[in-house]
Amino acid sequence: MDLTFNERETAFRDELRAWLAANDPGPRPEDADEDATFEWMRSWQRTMAADKWAGVHWPEEYGGRGATITESAIFFEELGRARRPLPANVLGIVMGGPTLMVWGTDEQKERFLPHILDASEHWCQGFSEPEAGSDLAALKTRAVKDGDDWVVTGQKVWTSGAQYAKWCMLVARTDMDAPKHKGLTYFLMDMEQEGVQVRPLRQITGSAEFNELFLEGARIPDANVIGGVGNGWKVALTTLMNERSGLAFFLQVRLRQLLDDVIEEAASRGLLDDPVVADKLADLHVKAEILRLTAYRGLTAIEKYGQPGPEGSLTKWLWSDTNQQLTSFAAELFGDWAYTAGNRWAYELMRARGNSIEGGTTEILKNIIAERVLGLPRLK
């Protein structure tokens, strides 16, 4: 057991820290101004890409640094610690690129990968549908072969960044007769066409991170099938498995900072002398530390045994739970100020409700833990 970084990891971290200290995208635009925020993150990604920091976990041949999984975690941790934003095309970098590296043809890799990292082509994810949330394989969007093209009809939802995207990682049903996991195909769909309509989806925070996609006769050339017709479920799982690989560390650090800010704000109001407040803040600190440590245990399991241990499925649950408790307590602690529209803590309070839903609901995570980690039977 050695919970320090080795020489290579330390060197990686120090180089990154120095770079982050020297490079700053400037102040974040107003939350309400989504276009300005996107441009701010895109320009930040270009800055990162110029110095090969945009896709550190990508192999060097694709413009990355071939970072190990621990270095990749360090990358996201340091990015969060320096209070720098994620790159704009984080879905492409973290999920899309790695999926193509596993399943794409040489032509597809050559065509798509470079533009992911340099921020010239934005990516979005077309998986969930109004009738297919947790039960993703129940999706109904259809793709029908027409000459060398596929013609797509259906509806997708929760599509972040769709209004800026050039490519959509789309899973659609190509065989209506096959069992539900078997009849799916994974496509890269060009978003810039008539058959694709994007409508912003306003959240309880008032802003619109997500969109709905309406697909009416959207066309996809056969060359943009990823991983073969009928193999879409497996390809989609590759995408989903990459979803939180390193991002967990970014979220973990964000929670840490939010907690540090609550403690400082509470201290400045003289609230730390209240033993009830001190107890709750200490409890949140304990949870934040457990989250950090458990995430590192998960990394070791992947590095040593090639697969996540039971820790892997626990961190997302622990993160969402703790973040919700933290933001709820912060708002209660700071009172009316925190419940005033436009206040930072008001935003965090509302945004945190999404944490236990996005990227796998807590209920689904509990099912996964019960069935795959504990080996409990499934309800028939």
Binding site: M1, D2, L3, T4, F5, N6, E9, A21, T70, R81, A82, R83, R256, Q257, D260, I263, E264, A267, S268, L272, P275, A278, D279, L281, A282, D283, H285, V286, K287, E289, I290, L293, T294, Y296, R297, L299, T300, A301, E303, K304, P310, E311, L314, W317, L318, E363, L365, K366, N367, I369, A370, E371, V373, L374, G375, L376, P377, R378, L379, K380
Partner: protein, 352 residues
């Protein structure tokens, strides 16, 4: 970064698990709990293997290994809910090694390491596991430690019948002059490790039971009300484990991080132990409430361990003091710049 045991440590864990599965079955635990005795045969065997002295320096007759190895044994003995005076003896030795004079070390460590003398450690005036019948008791009082003798112990029957408990009044015995905090922090990690083992056993028993037990022609573990309870038990157990292993590592490798790590480990493990064993009783249904089922040994062990050296609330208070101590000394942190006088975690240091 490697958050895993070495091959040797894995071997210690496997050996301990296998040995205790054979020698410390629940039948044995029950037999000794009901008789109000320790399992002398088992204790002799463990002493022969050098377990009580695993973290005692070789010059004092121990194996010279660290708190990580000790934590591994504590976890496994907790898993077995073994009726031995191990925890008291090992933590007393830890404290004497960390805070004792040369004479005190020479007088006690070889005997404790060999299992020839029994020890205990706890707070003055509070229930101390393994104290009744102990030859030496390390008593924490007002930030310092004292070394009391067996004659200073008042035996008390506690709700955990797998151990002999006692109390020692303040002021008894001779002072143990060294670093009391370092000694107690190491002991906290050992107790936390035992709680992790207790929790893991309660979880394993529960999972086995709910797979087997059928109602409405269905294994009850298939119902989400039950399976989600089990998932929550795993979350508690693994969280406490992360915190405890970190504390054990810090004790051996980065002692400056130990005060925080030990408080976090004890706070997390105390809560996990109580939650998980209570959940185990609930998931076992009516049978879980009977003397005949074995989950109650774990529930009772968890209560006493959780209380030992202060419960979750006590250690969260310690964490809160550490957090407050790191805050910027200036009244308005927003305006201050990093200065040489600021600690590395102070808000004055470059934003983390």
């Amino acid at each position: 970064m490697n958050f895993d045991f070495t091959e040797d440590q894995h071997e210690i864990k496997r050996t301990a698990r296998d040995l205790l599965a054979k020698r410390s079955t629940f039948e044995k635990v029950r037999e000794h709990a009901e008789a109000g005795t320790y399992d002398g045969g088992l204790w002799k065997e463990l002493a022969g293997l050098g377990w009580p002295g695993i973290a005692v320096a070789e010059e004092h007759g121990g194996q010279g290994l660290g708190v990580v190895e000790l934590a591994i044994l504590c976890e496994e003995l907790g898993y077995a809910c073994a009726a031995t005076p191990f925890l008291g003896t090992a933590t007393a030795a830890l404290a004497i090694e960390a805070a004792g004079s040369d004479d005190q070390k020479a007088a006690w460590l070889p005997k404790l390491a060999a299992g020839e003398a029994r020890g205990a450690l706890g707070l003055a005036g509070q229930l101390i596991p393994d104290a009744a019948g102990a030859d030496v008791v390390v008593v924490a009082e007002d930030g310092g430690l004292r070394l009391a003798g067996g004659g200073d112990v008042e035996a008390v029957d506690a709700i955990d019948p797998t151990r002999r408990h006692g109390k020692v009044a303040g002021g008894a015995g001779e002072p143990l002059g060294g670093d009391a905090a370092a000694a107690l922090d190491r002991a906290l990690v050992a107790v936390a490790a035992e709680l992790v083992g207790v929790s893991q056993r309660a979880l394993d028993m529960t999972v086995a039971y709910v797979k087997d037990r059928k109602q409405f022609e269905t294994p009850v573990g298939a119902y989400q009300a039950v399976s989600h309870r089990c998932a929550q038990m795993l979350l508690h157990t693994e969280g406490a484990r992360s915190a405890t292993y970190f504390g054990a590592w810090a004790a051996d490798a980065e002692p400056e991080r130990l005060p925080e790590a030990a408080a976090i480990a004890k706070a997390a493990a105390s809560e996990a132990g109580k939650e998980v064993t209570a959940s185990a009783i609930q998931a076992h249904g009516g049978i879980g409430f009977t003397w005949e089922a074995d989950v109650h040994w774990l529930y009772k062990r968890a209560q006493l361990d959780a209380q030992l050296l202060g419960g979750a609330r006590t250690h969260r208070a310690a964490v809160a003091r550490l957090l407050a101590g790191r805050l910027c000394p200036r009244p308005s942190w927003q305006e201050c710049a990093s200065t040489a006088s600021c600690s590395s975690r102070c808000c004055c240091s470059p934003r983390r």
